[in-house]
Symmetry: C2
Subunit: 410 residues, 2 copies
């Protein structure tokens, strides 16, 4: 199998000011076409270190992909450094220069002189067109090796990568296919223990990992074709699904997608009443195009007056149980369902933290409720943590799980 | 200055299944105490490659920090690999073993046998306690060099890092202090052009970068003490702020924080009516603890019925201008202000994409409105793109900017 290395370039990366999402994207894309990424590197805008790391990567890999450092500013030096290391001159690509000029003309902006250098490319390279910015990419042949220079901003890099696919095809050796069996409500250790006998398989391999309050099993098969790889994965996925039961919510699909699919299939809508998640559930649901099929009404009832006036939570409920209570959550779910006319009302109220709501209401105490009029489910969470971001994300995941269980009659 | 390298270990990382936020965190923390991270690496759960990369990093750096691969499962091999490379035996740390047993006892879970190996540590190392999981960290002395082994899950790694600070102190050489001058509404090239004369400074350095629809200038100074570094940054930040005027919204502070601070200072509240952002503005505002001081009511009016029934948008407005119009946005802002009694109503309606709303309503066409009863501001966005996530994020940022301008009377 051919090997690729990815080098992410930028002082903002080594200073930790930006989280690199390009390298994981390239890793996924390359894995999918059977090119192995065994290593990645990150280096600042420093020509000497970049040169050294680039040459080392080139010595042990067939393809080196570099992202970043193609910008117009003087510290952007990836192209210059790589060209120098390979002994290639830079020359102006007239077509690129015109494209850059056009880019500014269309936006009725003056073209800064600095942007002119973006039209310079290593002699003999294949120029990759940038639909979303001014920095062209480059594909350089160097003996049997190949080098790709890609811009740093993800919205420029990702569409440009599509132009690389035909150029990468000769290096593709079959397919590595991964499926992710996604569970909610099960810790990684416990999941791995249940699936213990599968973790020693070699093709497909089965590996546990945890992410954002969920635990996954990655099932990966290598084969000549996609169909063969699928055939290797299928029986293992089926057996693991049997083993883990209703903890498994989907294969290769997020929780918000799963509940959207279930709602759509049942022709139902959900309305949301959110307190401590502050709109996070609505936000996650509407990330998906076509969310309006299943969702039309949401209320972020941060204030008690909002819970009473809009959702009709009785003041007695707030007085006797407080806003953070199972009773209030259920009133909120009933209230948003009534108000919106949706099939299902889903509600969350809790203490996101870091501060607590007094001794009896610690940070991380969260109540969820879902009702379709006939059946109602509720859930009490107690994360024991003051981590606001975690508690909010966890509450949103658990709310989706409650909705899933209501829809499936679990 | 002492040098550190960070190696992130995990097959899920090189396959791109997880985005690494540990390495940027460590980079920021180390930079802050004057330890330079010039390079970072990522490698899969492969002992041979990990060994090679670890030894290379150790040969050229004073400190090597590794994250990941300390888990209980058989593919977690960082500790074993590093100990072997350094010629150290592993031995059970009895205190750790008891802590791991306690961890499971407290959660009334059986302890999987696999977790026992997490109590094994390289002989002679300093053990770092894990408050949030079962994998202890290690701090290893190797001649003049130091090695830190840290767990992969960020919620375990980040608190553990605090235990490293006193151990890292002898390697700290003064302070590198960075401030970020944050702008909204100005492209990176244009900002860099305006700040051109500052980009050649050496202490502090000034570097432009772009992130999430905003452009920043990073101003970094190196000095013996924090106070000296601050004194170097201060005049440059002041001059840059004068130069960029009202595009600058803050130094070192996010937009949501800035508007929250302004609202709090003016004793005002904002209520939100969101369509295409789907709760994203409420979500961003309530990420901050204490959001309830400035925010109590939000409506996610995805459906037109919700816009009419809850926000009182007249059906004539929807019929003659459509839901995606300046008129509808302003009615939504007025409606949520009236409904909630908040000082300010802020509303967003638009086509998030990827699909368009017909020829006259392309994806990325978004209308914003803000009103405090006396003064009303509106803004029309046309991103020209079908990128749903970008359009939603961009609309939220612009909405915060509109609110900022309303609050500041700009």
């Amino acid at each position: 199998m051919h090997k690729a290395e990815v080098i992410s370039v930028g002082t903002e990366l080594v200073l930790g000011e930006i989280t690199d999402t390009n390298a994981p994207f390239l890793s996924r894309e390359l894995a999918g076409i059977g090119i192995a990424v065994e290593r990645r590197g990150t280096v600042g805008d420093n020509p000497a270190r970049l040169r050294e790391d680039f040459l080392q990567a080139l010595s042990r890999s067939d393809i080196v992909l570099l992202t970043g450092g193609l910008g117009p500013t003087p510290d952007d030096l990836t192209k210059e450094t790589v060209a120098e290391a390979l002994g290639l001159a830079l020359e102006t690509d007239e077509l690129q220069l015109r494209r850059i000029e056009d880019f500014f003309r269309k936006r009725t902006l003056p073209m800064p002189e600095d942007n002119r250098k973006q039209a310079m490319v290593p002699k003999g390279c294949t120029v990759l067109y940038n639909e979303n910015g001014t920095a062209p990419g480059c594909w350089i042949k160097h003996g049997s090796k190949r080098i790709a220079l890609l811009p740093g901003p993800p919205r420029e890099m990702k569409p440009m990568f599509r132009q690389l696919l035909p150029l990468l095809a000769p290096f593709s050796s079959g397919v590595i296919l991964s499926h992710h069996l996604r569970t909610v409500g099960l810790g990684e250790s416990r999941m791995a223990q249940l699936a213990e006998h599968y973790l020693d398989l070699t093709n497909p391999t089965v590996a546990p990992y945890a992410k954002d309050g969920e635990s996954y099993l990655r099932v990966s098969a290598a084969a000549a074709t996609r169909e063969e790889a699928e055939a290797l994965c299928r029986p293992v996925l089926r057996k693991l699904t049997e083993l883990l039961g209703s903890y498994v919510y989907a294969v290769d699909e997020g929780l918000a997608q799963t509940v959207t699919r279930l709602l759509r299939a049942q022709g139902k809508t959900v309305a949301l009443a959110e307190s401590c998640t502050g709109g996070g559930i609505a936000q996650a649901l509407t990330e998906l195009p076509g969310a309006s099929d299943v969702f039309g009404w949401g209320v972020v009832s941060y204030a008690n007056e909002c819970k009473q006036a809009l959702l009709g939570v009785p003041s007695e409920t707030l007085q006797s149980h407080g806003a953070v209570s199972a009773e209030c959550a259920m009133e909120m779910a009933r209230g948003i369902r009534r108000l919106s006319g949706a099939a299902i009302g889903l509600a969350v109220t809790g203490i996101a933290g870091p501060g607590s709501g007094g001794e009896a209401k610690p940070a991380g105490l969260i109540f969820l409720a879902a009702t379709d009029g006939d059946r109602s489910l509720e859930r009490r969470l107690e994360t024991g943590r003051g981590d606001r971001a975690h508690n909010r994300l966890y509450a949103a995941k658990q709310a989706f799980d409650l909705l899933r269980r209501l829809l499936l009659g679990i």
